[in-house]
Amino acid sequence: MRLMVEALSARRGEDLIFRDISFTLDGGQSMVLTGRNGSGKSTLLRAVSGLLRPESGRVIWHSEGTDADIRAAEACHYLGHRNAMKAELSVSENLGFWKSFIGDFPGGHGVSVGEAAEAVGLGDIAHLPFGYLSAGQQRRMAFAKLLVAWKPVWILDEPTAALDVSAESVFTALIKTHLSQGGIVLAATHQPLGLENARELKMTGFAGGTESMW
């Protein structure tokens, strides 16, 4: 199981944000992106998830039992700045939808909606509309989305923003469990996540040079 990023470059608007970033992550490995505000962490994560078409380079996914030319995005869970949950629907309706819409990737199974809510410490309020939760509770529930459907790669953009200390340790434990099951984690963060063996990639932003195409 391996995620390979080869010579990736990406633009935002017209400007090149980073250039020729390459790395490889095997099952059980994790990498943390750090760097100043605006240095391109979110941009890199979106490019790896296939949400932003890279200027050059590619992202390759390789595992047994899947096609060689599968889009890497299909093996990935993406947790962005926004939570991807509907305020009008209840938490369990939201999670249930994502569970069946995303579906499991070959090689694992997601937990049930109830268990996932339990795992992030909010099992008893899963019946509330999502819009009724506090900022931190919403973030936790967004994280629970990663548990209901199994995907080997987790791409996390500041997962711990707005979380209290106890929730941070819960998240760390969940991430470690995922790694121990052979998963891969790629996270951007400003606060240490508490992962021991994580590699670190420091984004430098425009220091790499902005080159206009015009």
Partner: protein, 219 residues
Amino acid sequence: MIALLLRDLKLSVRAGGGALIGVLFFTTVVAVIPFGVGPDLNLLSRIGPAIVWIGALLSALLGLDRMFQTDREDGSLDLILMQEHPLALTVLVKCLAHWLGNGLPLVIASPLLGLFMNMDEVAIGATMLTLLVGTPALTFIGAVGAAVAVALPRGGLLVSILVLPLAIPVLIFGVSASYAAVQDPAPFMPPFLILVAITMFFAVLGPLGAALALRNAGD
């Protein structure tokens, strides 16, 4: 996919009833016309099918621009784009949900409005049938506009402008089929079949175009 259909339907019912408002607007548009033309019943029944069709077209526009916008604002669109389902299929399902929530109620309400316009049974039946066949095309065309709107800071009206010119053929053939059913020499089938063909054409082109736009609007 079924999950997506159910979710979208649930949202459209839960959040204040897209069906109701569309129908309400439809009724208003149709009800205002008699003020214009005066109480000339003959004239009313003559322009009836046209007015009903125009009303349906305009009501279909309301709400169309937000088809993908809400999903984008809360980040759901990102996750939808990442899945392996062919994107065009996802769009098709969303169109279906939108039509069930917004288009179908218009079709169901149209006989009532036909009565307002003093149309006879055949005309009412024909108009309803053409609406049933034609409104999905409006949704499919609208999906392209809605997908484009995703990249806009404020979608709204711009979408409708981009969409309306494309919707004109649907209107033309819908109306002429309805008339053909009543006026004798004109045969009903040819314009009706063209309408069916247009709907099928846009059922393919719409989702494909919308998928293309969504992929390219992403950032």
